[in-house]
């Protein structure tokens, strides 16, 4: 039977609640795994460099190269993986 009352959502202490927005998650991911450098992330137009980095990541991971932060790409960014960067040392 459906819950009689709306399900309470609790913030559990000690949980790494990633309060990151999708865009922040993506920027962190692209930086951490070598698809963009800290310099690029700071300078240049964000939009262009993000699309370029996304396309690089989508190509490397065999995803459709849209240059967009689409659902498939976000899902891939949340998937469990190896910590070694995909590009660079």
């Amino acid at each position: 039977p459906l819950q009689s009352k709306p399900q309470a959502v609790v913030t559990f202490p000690g949980e790494l609640v990633s309060g990151l927005s999708d865009l922040e998650l993506a920027e962190n991911y692209l930086l951490r795994f070598g698809y963009t450098t800290a310099v690029e992330a700071r300078t240049g137009s964000k939009r262009v460099s993000l699309a370029k980095a996304l396309r690089k990541m989508q190509k490397k991971l065999g995803l459709e190269e849209t240059g967009e932060l689409d659902a498939t790409t976000l899902e891939a960014m949340r998937a469990p993986r190896c910590g070694v960067p995909d590009i660079g040392t």
Binding site: V9, L16, K60, G62, A76, R78, P80, R81, C82, V84
Partner: protein, 578 residues
């Protein structure tokens, strides 16, 4: 595949490894065995050897840790990053680290290895029946000493097979007490403890004293995780407490209440509302074998691959009967060469401008008990082939396969090639007899063995093996162990590690190329695994890591995860005819 900048690799083949510490999630023996199997994945296809040492500096030092664990590359709690490793070299180079905020299993849920009892260390069988009740976790029912135990078959009532579960009351890991169990209560830093604690440590591992006074005796050990141990949260490793109170309600099992992601959790005290102590309940976990095999690929010099089905692909995905992908094999052999084959080789030189139809390259020495190789002079005058004959007028082909990186289309004594590297379109027609003297004009199937580069041809119930200029055959396919039910072979799929699937009718066999015998347990029904493709395919071949089944003018393409992801025209899609 990719190697690290400068093709970093070890300058010796006999490598050593050392496990610095163990995750409390699994019995130490299970972890040692998983690492041993993970190294074997790579030693099976190279001259590399791996020896475990238990002291001193090894080439590959392995450790478990969580968050910041001493190398400046912190892990991130449960899920997300699972592990990392460093390319070959001295010091931290070559080392592999595993995130111990993950639940390490063999990929399909908890592995609860028992000790003592009468089941010789067999794993728990969940669920099991005891005194008519069903249990899906270790219990203390039926005992007065509080030691958790389980049945190792579905029914204790029937089989009376049991063993004791991992518990700090039974033994500890590491430390300085040779595995002695905890003593409760014990005094530490003037405080009395009745359970394992992380106090006094910054790495989050739970420990206990193995005498009643640590301050005095300094004897301690690390607590193994119980089967009800939570993962992550703020109580990593502590066992769930059932029943527990949450938002005023009582819970006797894990729940997803209070969360939006559906993950199951439990409290590690009897009242979450007051104590706020909690963690995630065990799930399928991550296969320590699969993740270790990937990380050891890095330790040997492989970077991430773009091939989704390859072991060196960066994302984790569980596979049951693991097979090393040809992409991984090519990568590691690029660095270290074959098993018993020649020394490591640099990448093959770029082929000459006009890719000529090459007979196969010299294969490596083979250990099969092959009869004396013979180099046959062509028996009959080969049928002259008009090179202008167009592959696009053919309705279908006798056989299709990839040889030396080029797709070959065979028909009535002729063949054409199509290179995926060059966009030079279809080459040919060429004469089969010129390239492979001694072969009949009509062949049914062919494949090139990934490891040795030898090319196998099949026609009717006969087969030929070409290795460089030499040819062996014809021999009957019964020599491979294929019974009379197979009138002809229709195709082949290379599976990596010297195995090839041979298809005939609605069945397939798995051939061990090295010993040239099909494995036990075959044939199997094609439909059991390759669901959704034509069972009477005329051609079956592997191309760019996907499986192709052709019938009439169509092909069905299947991914290595056995999903048909495309159906199309052989002529227009593959041959790219106008």
């Amino acid at each position: 595949f990719l190697t690290f900048e400068g093709d970093l690799k070890w300058d010796h083949m006999d490598l050593t490894y050392r496990v610095m510490n163990y995750s409390p999630d699994l019995d130490r023996a299970v972890i040692d065995d998983a690492f041993k199997r993970a190294f074997k994945v790579w030693s099976d296809v190279t001259p590399l050897t791996f020896t475990q040492i238990y002291s001193g500096e090894a080439d590959i030092m392995i450790m478990f840790g969580s968050r910041e664990h001493g190398d400046g590359y912190p892990f991130d709690g449960k899920d997300g990053l699972l592990a990392h490793a460093f390319p070959p070299g001295r010091g931290i180079q070559g080392d592999a680290h595993f995130d111990d905020d993950e639940l390490w299993t063999l990929g399909t849920g908890l592995v609860v290895k028992t000790r003592h009892g009468n089941a010789n260390g067999a794993d728990c069988h969940f669920p099991f029946i005891f005194e008519g009740r069903s249990y899906s976790r270790c219990i203390t029912e039926g005992r007065t000493d509080g030691l958790p135990w389980c049945a190792t078959t579905a029914s204790y009532d029937h089989d009376k097979k049991y063993g004791f579960c991992p518990s700090e009351l039974l033994y500890t890991n590491g430390g300085n007490s040779d595995g002695a169990p905890c003593v409760f209560p014990f005094v530490f830093d003037g405080t009395s403890y009745n359970a394992c604690t992380t106090d006094g440590r910054s790495d989050g591992y739970r420990w206990c004293a193995t005498t009643s006074n640590f301050d005095q005796d300094k004897k301690y050990g690390f607590c193994p995780n119980r089967d009800t141990a939570v993962i992550g949260g703020n109580s990593q490793g502590d066992p769930c407490v059932f029943p527990f109170t949450f938002l005023g309600q009582s819970y006797s099992s894990c729940t997803s209440q209070g969360r939006q992601d559906g993950k199951l959790w439990c409290a590690t005290t009897s009242n979450y509302d007051t104590d706020k102590k909690w963690g995630f309940c065990p799930d399928r976990g991550y296969s320590i074998f699969l993740v270790a095999a990937h990380e050891f690929g890095h330790s040997l010099g492989l970077d991430h691959s773009s091939v989704r089905e390859a072991l060196m692909y960066p994302m984790y995905s569980y596979v049951q009967d693991f097979q090393l992908h040809p992409d991984d094999v090519r990568g590691i052999q690029y660095l270290y060469g074959h098993g018993s084959g020649p020394e490591p080789t640099a990448p093959a030189p770029v082929p000459t401008e006009e890719p000529q139809p090459l007979p196969t390259e010299a294969g490596s020495t083979s250990t099969t008990e092959e009869e004396e190789e013979e180099t046959l002079e062509p028996t009959a005058e080969p049928i002259p082939v008009d090179p202008s004959q167009d592959a696009c007028v053919e309705k279908n082909f006798d056989a299709i396969t990839e040889i030396n990186g080029e797709l070959h289309f065979f028909k009535d004594g002729k063949y054409w090639t199509l290179s995926s590297f060059w966009d030079s379109g279809i080459q040919g027609a060429f004469s089969i007899a010129d390239a492979w003297p001694g072969l009949p004009a009509v062949i049914d199937a062919a494949f090139q063995d990934v490891l040795t580069k030898r090319v196998f041809f099949f026609s009717g119930r006969q087969f030929w093996v070409f290795s460089g200029q030499s040819m062996l055959g014809p021999r009957g396919i019964e020599k491979l162990g294929i019974g009379k039910e197979a009138r002809r072979i229709s195709g082949a799929l290379q599976r990596g590690r010297g195995k090839v699937l041979l298809f005939s009718g609605e069945s397939y066999w798995r051939l061990d190329v090295k010993v040239q015998r099909v494995d036990k347990g075959y044939p199997r029904a094609t439909d059991d695994v390759f669901t959704g493709v034509p069972l009477d395919a005329r051609n079956v071949f592997l191309y760019q890591d996907k499986y192709y089944f052709c019938r009439g003018s169509f092909y069905w393409r299947m991914t290595p995860r056995y999903q048909v992801d495309r159906v199309g025209y052989v002529k227009y899609d593959i041959l790219q005819c106008p």
